[in-house]
């Protein structure tokens, strides 16, 4: 107890390994999720996290009810609890999440001393996080104690974490997009990582607001959009129909067996013109014209291509017959150069968005398979794929009904080829456990749905069995990082993107211009 150098806010009064009871010092306002420290005389200490808060009183319940009644019914003017702070108090139920012995973090195997006084965590207590050598640090946010943000920042090694897949589960309005923006901004400074970002809300580039376009390292960024008007530095998203092969639809579009068979036959017969041939309803042996009619309508709905005046037209201006031959190749090239490629899919249907991703991801996956076979994979950048509403391609039902797609293949096998997913979802429960188990980093944002929380907890890399309420109560921008690459499930506060980048943009602007040889 002598080791306590700052104000104690509570004292351990009992409990067990999974639930330590701490009496709160009156007025300390311990919060759910608060990180607390129990110091030992030998300088070692335990970090505890508050899992629940409970009212306790030395006054029997019946007396409290009576006292309340007296007050509510107007008889309590001359009545008040004496020694109120001593007799009525809050017990915080906490769990030891880490023990620091000789400055080395260890998983807790002992209880902190009985009656040990507890204080709030401070940045110095987390020095072991700073001291860790992370080669390619990807900043996620600052350590958070309850709702209080510390200065200690949390990083994971991007080149480790991305191939092992990252899952971001959260409900609407809890800051998913903000987190991805912050992560992508930070990845802009990390070399040898290529990211493909399917952006259905066109929000990451920052067409009309602050975004990745404001990062100083513009060389690393490519932005593809069907809408190139009034904006500089944008690549036109035009994909030639010749780039598409039947397997790109696998697991993305619900074709019947007969339809799938027809696709293959058309591809075999007409090679890269197979889609045009279908649109033109060129008949081939063994394929029922009615089947072709259905496929044609599906292509119209999904790709926006149709026949008009004997010509193939493109409604969305993305899938073309006369242009965009090199788009996919270019994108693959950018990724192999370690660039971040944002694809604005805001004008595409959900299926078309996935199809675009499928074409790109399928191509890069094939290439990386070859690199591995040749033994050159280690020289290639890590590839990450950011995908929203992940159950569209990783959902149990989708996989069961339509078979595996390139995304689910990467979820299972991508790690071997240095390709990983950054999957975002509101509904974790739709994703099979086998895939969830492969997602080795989870950045858990707030979630009100108990079934979803149960799935998140069950698949976490650390034991979060006591964090059900904590996850429900995570406010916007608050998260828990559970990862095989972190010592413990770290509560973090993700900075607001605009605030996070503001200083960095300013600092970059203030840098003196580089001197030319003439100046020298």
């Amino acid at each position: 107890m002598e080791g306590v150098s700052i104000d104690p806010i509570g004292q351990i009064i009992g409990g067990e390994t999974s639930k330590i009871f701490i009496r709160e010092k009156s007025g300390s306002r311990i919060e759910l999720g608060d990180l607390l420290v129990a110091e030992e005389d030998d300088g070692n200490y335990s970090i505890l996290q508050v899992k629940d808060l409970v009212y306790h009183s030395q006054i029997p319940q019946i007396m409290r009810e009576l006292a309340s009644g007296l007050q509510l019914e107007g008889h309590g003017s001359h009545m008040e609890f004496l020694d109120e702070k001593l007799r009525n108090y809050i017990i915080a139920e906490a769990k030891t999440i880490l023990q620091i012995q000789d400055n080395e973090p260890q998983l807790p195997k002992t209880l902190p001393s009985f009656f040990n006084r507890i204080r709030r965590i401070k940045d110095d207590d987390l020095n072991f996080l700073m001291e860790e050598k992370i080669e390619n640090p990807l900043y996620l946010g600052n350590v958070r104690s309850g709702s209080k943000e510390l200065k200690t920042s949390i990083h994971v090694d991007a080149k480790e974490a991305i191939p092992h897949h990252i899952l971001i589960p959260a409900t609407t309005g809890r800051g998913k997009s903000n987190l991805v923006k912050v992560m992508l901004w930070e990845l802009m400074d990390i070399e040898n990582i290529g990211m493909i970002v399917l952006d259905p809300h066109d929000e990451y580039y920052g067409r009309n607001e602050t975004g990745l376009k404001d990062h100083h390292n513009q060389e690393k960024l490519r932005y593809y959009s069907p809408d190139t008007s009034n904006i500089q530095g944008v690549d036109s998203l035009r994909i030639n129909l010749k780039s598409i092969r039947p397997e790109h639809f696998e697991g993305i579009v619900d074709f019947t067996g007969a339809q799938r068979d027809a696709l293959k036959r058309y591809h075999n017969t007409h090679k890269e013109d197979w889609i045009s041939s279908i649109i033109q309803e060129k008949e081939i042996d063994g394929v029922d014209p009615r089947t072709i009619g259905v496929i044609k309508r599906k292509f119209d709905n999904i790709l926006g291509i149709y026949m008009k005046n004997d010509q193939i037209k493109s409604r969305g201006n993305v899938f073309k017959t006369d242009t965009g031959e090199s788009t996919i190749k270019d994108i693959i090239g950018h990724l192999e150069d370690g660039r971040i490629v944002i694809i604005d899919t805001s004008r595409l249907t959900g299926e078309a968005e996935l199809l675009v991703g499928s074409i790109i991801v399928g191509a890069i996956f094939n290439r990386y398979q070859k690199y591995k076979a040749k033994g050159t994979l280690k020289n290639k950048p890590i590839i990450g794929i950011v995908i929203e509403e992940a159950p569209r391609v990783l959902g149990k039902e989708v996989i069961e009904k339509q078979g595996h797609n390139i995304y689910s293949t990467i979820a299972r096998e991508g790690r071997k080829f240095n390709i990983g997913l950054v999957a975002i979802t509101q509904l974790v429960s739709l994703i099979p456990r086998t895939i969830l188990a492969n997602m080795n980093t989870k950045i858990i944002l707030g979630n009100e749905m108990s079934q979803e929380r149960a799935e998140i907890i069950a698949s976490a890399s650390q034991d979060l069995s006591d964090d059900n309420r904590t996850i429900a109560s995570l406010d916007r921008g608050e998260a828990i990082v559970t990862s095989v690459f972190t010592k413990f499930a770290v509560p973090i506060k993700i900075p607001l993107f605009e605030e996070h980048v503001q200083d960095k943009i300013r600092k970059e602007d203030e840098k003196p211009p580089l001197l030319s040889p003439q100046d020298l």
Binding site: P60, M63, H78, M79, E80, F81, L82, D83
Partner: protein, 360 residues
């Protein structure tokens, strides 16, 4: 007439008995007849510093000829409703073991007490062993003697109170659980010392009794009679005095007064209060004590005494610890011998154990 009806009739007779007039067995008091003018309303007053004192004891070992008790005396300080941190030079709690045993003397059997403070520093607050010699009531009866086992605690309450008073200032109040009357020979000496010290320091000394055996000359409970009598006034909280005044020959202090008090408007409880006051007005002092009785757990009873009781209470788990330590330190021969003494009276405890009842 059935049994129940007979009992109801007997109860009605008793309840409807005439109030009568206050009656005290002790000849040391002047007793005053009921007078409705003796009711005084309490008022809102400036908070005063009050020390609340209580003691507790529990049995570690007992046999017909000896008893080993663990005793604890505790005090707290309140200023009105607020707990006051003690800056006194005395501990807030003293603890000691007392060993009572029976000796044969020319005048019959006497009880002697030896005292073992848990901290030697606490010895100065404890009574002297030579003062703790009491003549046992005859004929020898264990259950009459058991009352004697608390003699050390009672004496220690007075001796500790004398030290507390030394730390209090003029106008402060020391409130002790129980009356300002004594039960044991030699106890008067200790009470007298406390009273003199209080009077000398201008400290008001009060004894509040949760239960009272005072009666009227018609056999009614005196407190119940006053409660009935109080129905004729409209006071929410009041004190009634004097019921009796102590007669004192010495000029060193005045006599104490016995009063009845209703300390909170929402209470049904009326308590006996013995008061030895300094220069202050009685109503002022009782009103100041009343300020401490607003806790909803027991309105009308000072919270300071509730707290003192809780802290002074010796619980069974503490007893078990000492019992184990003492018995495990005895040699086998002595232990066997001791067991035969203890077994002479511990059948009741054994029955409790069988019934899974633990005495607290």
């Amino acid at each position: 007439m059935g049994v129940v009806e007979k009992i109801i009739e007997a109860l009605e007779e008793d309840v409807n008995r005439e109030l009568g007039q206050p009656y005290l067995q002790s000849g040391n008091y002047n007793v005053y007849e009921f007078n409705e003018d003796n009711f005084k309303p309490l008022r809102d007053v400036e908070p005063r510093l009050m020390a609340f004192v209580d003691g507790g004891n529990n049995t570690i070992l007992e046999a017909p000829t000896f008893s080993l008790q663990i005793n604890r005396i505790y005090f707290n300080l309140f200023k009105g409703k607020e707990r006051h941190r003690s800056s006194f030079q005395i501990p807030e709690k003293i603890e000691f073991l007392s060993y009572f045993n029976v000796w044969e003397s020319e005048d019959g059997q006497i009880g002697k007490v030896r005292i073992f403070p848990l901290s030697e520093e606490h010895r100065e607050y404890l009574p002297r062993e030579k003062d703790l010699i009491v003549t046992l009531p005859g004929p020898p009866d264990f259950y009459q003697r058991s009352r004697m086992f608390s003699v050390a605690r009672r004496f220690a309450e007075w001796s500790f109170s004398a030290h507390i008073i030394e730390e209090l200032d003029d106008g402060d109040i020391l409130v002790k659980d129980g009356s300002l009357q004594t039960s044991f020979e030699g106890e008067n000496k200790y009470l007298g010392k406390v009273m003199k010290a209080a009077y000398k320091g201008g400290v008001n000394l009060a004894g509040l009794s949760k239960t009272s055996t005072l009666s009227t000359d018609t056999g009614n409970s005196l407190i119940a009679s006053i409660k009935k009598f109080a129905e004729y006034n409209n006071y929410d909280r009041w004190c009634y005095y004097p019921i009796a005044k102590e007669m004192v020959e010495s000029m060193e202090r005045p006599g104490s007064i016995i009063m009845a008090v209703k300390l909170h408007e929402l209470t049904e409880y009326i308590f006996r209060l013995d008061l030895l006051k300094g220069d202050d007005d009685e109503v002022e002092i009782v009103s100041a004590i009343g300020e401490n009785t607003v806790d909803p757990t027991f309105p009308g009873y000072p919270y300071g005494l509730i707290d003192a009781d809780l802290n002074a209470r010796v619980r069974m788990d503490e007893v078990k610890i000492y019992k184990t330590r003492i018995l495990s330190g005895l040699s086998e021969d002595i232990l066997e011998e001791l067991k035969s003494h203890i077994r002479a009276i511990d059948a009741h405890e054994r029955l409790n154990m069988i019934a899974n009842i633990t005495r607290d």
